[in-house]
């Protein structure tokens, strides 16, 4: 197990290296740089100075080496577009906001999704099943943007139950100002509900057709006992495969929600940094998000072995 973890760790580092390299050269291949837009009306001397300041005057390979050296010690460099900001400062200031939104959305979405999935599988072929399936297709087809605005109009403007925009700050950053978080969380969680409900339902129906469910039935177990003891654990295996993707999405994918509800999260910075070729920010955020994703994948792999005894880790004791 320890051997496995160590080996995995080096594989993860290597993966990050590849991702960082690819991101760097892809960005370099795109025409224009972060300064082009700002230097049009400046004097030539100023422009040269600016390029020098950010090191953009150096040859490509040298810039690559400097960037990679920086990454190795956690120095991503200063932003070109958002003056005085670094990746660290953006994540420190905006990270918790996006993280809370992401976590709330994912927990609610995955939780409700799984429960609906179980209900749909157990009531297969009844109106309840059809209602859940129809609803989830509907929910997955409506873009966040439209859904968020709809919620704002109904619950914010007309019913006045929740504030239309904004986000708790200060001491409420993690555990307060719930009324602000309701609408953004709802907006985000529906796509999770829809995808997890359908995923678990399909997986459960597949498991229910297995022979060992017949064996369980032939033991005289009740329907619910069969679901709890035999179906659920076996049908969670495909669901697990989707989890890392969802975690990564809940960090990066909230950009639309953040902009509809004027939430000062870092989704905005990520998108803007790419469109303005803000190399240091893009590199930093990509590497950090990739790192989170890789760690989640690693944890999922460990969880697999807990759920499914057939999967054993090489280098372990058995």
């Amino acid at each position: 197990m320890i051997k496995y973890t160590i080996r995995r760790f080096f594989v993860m580092l290597f993966t990050l290296f590849i991702i960082a390299t690819a991101t760097f050269f892809l960005l370099a291949a795109v025409p224009g740089d972060a300064l082009t837009a700002r230097t049009e009306r400046l004097q030539e001397k100023t422009v040269i100075n600016l390029y020098k300041k950010y090191g953009l005057d150096k040859p490509l390979m040298e810039r690559y080496l400097i960037t990679m050296k920086g990454l190795a010690v956690g120095d991503f460099g200063e932003s070109i577009v958002f003056e005085g900001q670094t990746v660290q400062s953006i994540i420190r200031d905006k990270g918790p906001i996006s993280a809370r939104l992401g976590l709330q959305t994912m927990t609610l979405g995955v939780g409700v999704g799984l429960i609906l999935g179980i209900i749909a599988a157990m009531k297969k072929g009844t109106w309840i099943d059809y209602a859940i399936v129809t609803l989830s297709i509907l929910l997955i087809s409506i873009p966040h943007l439209i859904f968020g605005m709809l919620l704002q109009k109904v619950f914010g403007a007309e019913l006045r139950w929740f504030p239309i925009i904004g986000w708790p700050k200060g001491k409420d950053l993690w555990f307060g100002g719930w009324e602000y978080t309701v609408l953004p969380t709802l907006t985000g969680c529906f796509s999770y509900i829809a995808s997890y409900a359908r995923l678990l339902k399909t997986s459960m129906l597949d498991v229910m057709n297995q022979d060992y469910i017949l064996t369980a039935e032939s033991k005289g177990l009740s329907r619910w006992q069969i679901i709890r003891r035999h179906v659920l654990r076996n049908s969670f295996i495909p669901v697990m495969t989707n989890l890392p993707m969802s975690v990564a999405m809940c960090i990066t994918g909230s950009f639309f929600i953040e902009s509809i509800f004027a939430i000062p999260g870092f989704g905005k910075y990520y998108v803007e940094a790419v469109s303005t070729r803000d190399v240091s920010i893009v590199m930093g955020q990509t590497v950090i998000i990739a790192a989170i994703y890789i760690v989640v994948v690693f944890l999922t792999d460990i969880l697999y072995t807990v759920i499914d005894p057939r999967i054993r880790i090489r280098g372990g004791k058995k």
Partner: protein
């Protein structure tokens, strides 16, 4: 001996997109207490569906047990059981062993726990050192280990903590048998228990089932397509073809005096060791009829070497040869030709 199970006019259909598939079309047989019978037939003849019906495992929909069918267990129709009775009947009174033990065991549960699950479901108390005590999970696990020992699994204590994929094929089937016998059922259905195993293991598994059956006085319904497996175990044999019983009788009669062309063809298809090498293995030409639209005559008529005109028009009734030996074939009709047929067509005990 009294009758433990009586199946009367069992008809089972599956509703598919193509239409209604009549898998079992009026099957009647009975099993006496402590007796082993075999149901023999090729794939798709309805033998597994019959087995599942007896365990109450037919899913509706798509399956449907037709009105008029009766499955009497100790005189009570299990088709009318409520949930509680059914739960007691399955596992407590009857048990089933499936063909593919790897698929029939839960891959994410230890073998020990799968036996314990059955015990906890049906037994309230257990005998420990001659005293009856309340069954706890710990005691159930001890009992499960005992069961694994009984079916011949070495290192049962460690084995009970392992998962099915850590067992070999034969061991898995033994574990399956341990689960089935855990609550000492009165009726065991073995649905092709040895088909997925190689020949040496087959014999061991069949011996094990036979031993346990004698020891615990369990009735066994052995379902197989392999006549070689049957001979050693079953006293009586029922031959099924396309959802019907075509011939039944005690093992001796079926093997030495088959009275139905299908039984003869099946027997010819068993490879024989007493003939010289390089003999060609006989096979039955053609395929069984489509049960979406079963033929109105004898279902075997399209493949039968001795088919007559009447065979395609009308299904034959069973002819009785005494001693429970019956066959449904027109060749036994007094007007049928007597020459060039595979068996003596006269009624034997005349």
């Amino acid at each position: 001996m009294s009758k433990l199970l009586e199946v009367k006019n069992l008809r089972v259909s599956y509703h598919t997109y193509a239409g209604e598939v009549q898998s079992v079309r009026g099957v009647t047989f009975d099993v006496e207490e402590g007796e082993a019978i075999a149901i023999v037939g090729e794939s798709g003849c309805g033998k597994s569906v019959t087995a599942k019906s007896i365990m109450g495992l037919i899913k509706t929909p798509p399956g449907e047990i037709k009105a008029g069918s009766e499955i009497l267990y100790r005189g009570e129709n299990i088709l009318n059981y409520d949930k509680k009775q059914m739960s007691h009947y399955r596992g407590g009174e009857s048990a089933i062993i499936f063909q593919d033990a790897l698929a029939a065991l839960n891959p994410t549960m230890t073998v020990g726990k799968q036996i314990v699950e059955n015990l906890m479901m049906h037994r309230k108390t257990i005998m420990v050192d001659g005293k009856e005590v309340k069954l706890t999970k710990r005691l159930a696990m001890q009992e499960a280990v005992k069961m694994l020992k009984m079916v011949g699994i070495p290192n049962a204590e460690q084995r009970a903590k392992q998962y099915p994929h850590e067992y070999s094929g034969g061991m898995r089937q033994r574990a399956m048998i341990a689960i089935a016998f855990a609550c000492q059922p009165k009726l065991l259905i073995a649905d092709e228990p040895t088909t997925a195993l190689d020949v040496t293991i087959q014999a061991q598994i069949m011996d094990l089932i036979k031993d346990l059956q004698k020891q615990l006085n369990t009735s066994v319904i052995l379902i197989t397509h392999d006549l070689g497996v049957v001979a050693n175990v079953a006293k009586r044999i029922v031959v099924m073809y396309s959802g019907n019983i075509v011939e039944r009788g005690n093992a001796r009669d079926i093997f030495y005096h088959p009275k139905h062309p299908y039984t003869c063809a099946l027997l010819e298809a068993v490879p024989r060791l007493d003939l010289k090498n390089k003999q060609e293995l006989a096979s039955i030409e053609g395929t069984p009829p489509d049960l979406l639209a079963p033929p109105k005559g004898c279902p075997f008529s399209t493949r039968c070497k001795y088919c007559m005109e009447i065979c395609c028009e009308q299904a034959p009734a069973a002819t009785d040869f005494g001693d429970g030996h019956e066959a449904a074939c027109w060749l036994h009709h007094p007007l049928a030709p007597k020459d060039d047929v595979p068996f003596k067509t006269e009624v034997r005990h005349e």
